[in-house]
Subunit: 277 residues, 2 copies
C-alpha cells in the first residue's frame, strides 16, 4: 500500500496518512495535482489531500482537482494542526535571525512571528521541507516552522510548541482512490453541483434532502467566476449515495441542477474517545 | 474622509478603496484587527477588508472580527487580483535570485515561482511593503510580487504582469463603518447565525427566506471548533434588513437560530459595464 501526499516526509499530510491508513508506505509529491496524477497512473494506491482548514477555509484548488480527475473520495480525517518552532540542536532562541516555512504556515503563525522582533520570515515550498533544508544548511541563525514529527525525522530541536495564533486550528483531509468504496454504517457523501441563480433554487435543491430527512454536514456556495450570477455548491450529507433514500434524493436533485457530481461516499470520521476541542 | 486598510500604500485593499470610495485619504494598518480598532476609535471613518477570494475561499479571521467588533458592513467591492513581478529599474530577470511577497500572494503564484529555477521565495508581511523594502534596499538580485500600483508608487520596474497561477483570481472586499447604512434599490444583507445540528435544521432556517421569495447570494457552513457537531452559517441575501419582508424573515429565523447577527445591509456591487470575467 502506497499513499501519495503533497510535501516532504514530516508534512502534516503524512501525519494524516498515519492517522487514517496506519503504517503504510508514503509517496511525497511536488504539488496537489501530482498527487492526483500519481493515483490516476496507479503509481500509488491512494492519495491524501487537505480540503478545508478551520482558519483558512476550503481549499478550492483541491475541489477543482476532484472535479477534473476521475478519482473518488474514500475517507476523511481531521488533524489538529500544531506548529512548532524548530532549530538545530543546541541553538538558543536569542540566536535566531530568520524563520522559514510554507506561506500558509507562516500566515497561521503571523501574530507569533510579529512578536519575534528582528526575525525575518522566509517562504519555502513545504513545512517539513524547510526543516530538511535547515538540517542540511546547518544555519544556526535560522529556525523552521513545521510539525513536531518533522523535528523528529530530521533529529532537530523543538524550541517552542503550539506557535500557531489560534489553538483551534484543524485541517480536514480526504483520502482519494481510483475506485469508490461502499461504506456500511455511519457514512458521509460529498457532492458538487451547480444551479442557475434563480430565487429559491437553492431551497429547492436542499429540499431533496430535507424531505427525506437526510442530514447535511457541509454546505458552501462558490461563485462561478466568469459567470458571476451562477454558483457551484459543495454539499456533504449523512449516508451513502447507494442507499435507496440517497439515490432518490440525488435523482431528484438532478432535476434542478445544471451539473451534479458525486465525489464519493465514505465512512464518517469519528475521533475514537478523542474530543475535537 | 479617511479609510483604514491592512498593509502599505499600494496594497490591493487600497486599490479596492479607490474603486469603492473614489479619491479619499487612506490609513495603512499593521493587521486586520487594527483596521477594526481604527474605525471603532473613529481614527478613521471607514475600513476596507478582504472577505473572500475566488481561489483561497472565505477569510474566516475577518468574519470573526466582524462578530467581535460592533461595526457594520456598509458596502462591497470585487477586485480582480493581478500580481506583477517587480524589480528595480534596469534589472533583468536573469539577475534575480530572490522573490519577496506576502505568503498568500506567494501561494497564488506558486506554479510561476516553481518555474523560476534557482530563485528563492521569501515571505514579507505585505505585498506593497515588499516593494517598498526592495526600493530602500536597492537589491538588484531581488524582485517583489505585488500590484502594478505598488510598482508605480515606488517608481519600480514591472518585469512581468499577471504572474498568478489562475487568471480568475478575484477578491471580494467589504467596507465597514460605525453606523449602518440604509441602502435603497438593489441591496444585499449579510448575516451570521448558528444552529444546533439537528436533521433538517438548515432547511428550516433557509425556508424563512424561500417562503418569502428572498434570494440568497452566499451560504457557507463553518464547523464550530470545540463543538464539532454545531455549525456557524454565513448567509448573504438580496434586499435590505429593514424591508418588511426581510424583517419578518429574520424574526422567523430567530425562532430556529441559537445565535443570529445582522452584519449589515449595503448596496449590491454591480460592475458598471465591466464584466467580472
Amino acid at each position: 500500500m502506497i499513499v501519495a501526499f503533497q510535501g516532504e516526509p514530516g508534512a502534516f499530510s503524512q501525519e494524516a496518512i498515519a492517522g487514517f491508513f496506519g503504517p503504510v508506505e508514503t509517496l511525497p509529491c511536488e504539488s496537489f495535482e501530482a498527487v492526483f496524477a500519481a493515483v490516476t497512473s496507479t503509481q500509488s494506491n491512494a492519495g491524501m489531500i487537505p480540503i478545508e482548514n478551520s482558519l483558512a477555509g476550503s481549499i478550492h484548488q483541491n475541489y477543482d482537482l476532484l472535479q477534473r480527475y476521475s478519482l473518488w473520495i474514500t475517507g476523511e480525517y481531521f488533524l489538529r494542526v500544531r506548529h512548532c518552532l524548530i532549530a538545530l540542536p543546541g541553538v538558543q532562541k536569542s540566536a535566531l535571525r530568520r524563520v522559514i516555512s510554507h506561506p500558509q504556515a507562516l500566515g497561521q503563525c503571523d501574530g507569533y512571528l510579529r512578536n519575534l522582533k528582528g526575525i525575518k520570515a522566509e517562504a519555502v515550498f513545504d513545512t517539513a521541507g524547510g526543516v530538511k533544508m535547515l538540517r542540511e544548511s546547518g544555519d544556526r541563525a535560522c529556525a523552521a516552522i513545521a510539525s513536531c514529527q518533522a523535528a523528529e525525522i530530521y533529529a532537530m530541536q523543538i524550541l517552542e510548541e503550539g506557535v500557531e495564533d489560534d489553538p483551534e486550528n484543524f485541517t480536514r483531509f480526504l483520502a482519494v482512490g481510483l475506485a469508490p468504496v461502499s461504506p456500511s454504517g455511519d457514512a458521509k457523501t460529498s457532492i458538487v453541483f451547480s444551479l442557475h441563480n434563480r430565487p429559491g433554487s437553492l431551497f429547492k435543491a436542499l429540499s431533496v434532502f430535507a424531505l427525506r430527512d437526510i442530514d447535511l454536514t457541509k454546505i458552501e456556495s462558490r461563485p462561478l467566476v466568469g459567470k458571476p450570477w451562477d454558483y457551484l455548491f459543495y454539499v456533504d450529507f449523512a449516508g451513502a449515495a447507494e442507499e435507496e433514500v440517497a439515490r432518490k434524493a440525488l435523482d431528484h436533485l438532478g432535476e434542478y441542477a445544471s451539473m451534479l457530481r458525486v465525489l464519493g461516499s465514505y465512512p464518517r470520521y469519528r475521533p475514537e474517545g478523542k474530543s475535537l476541542s
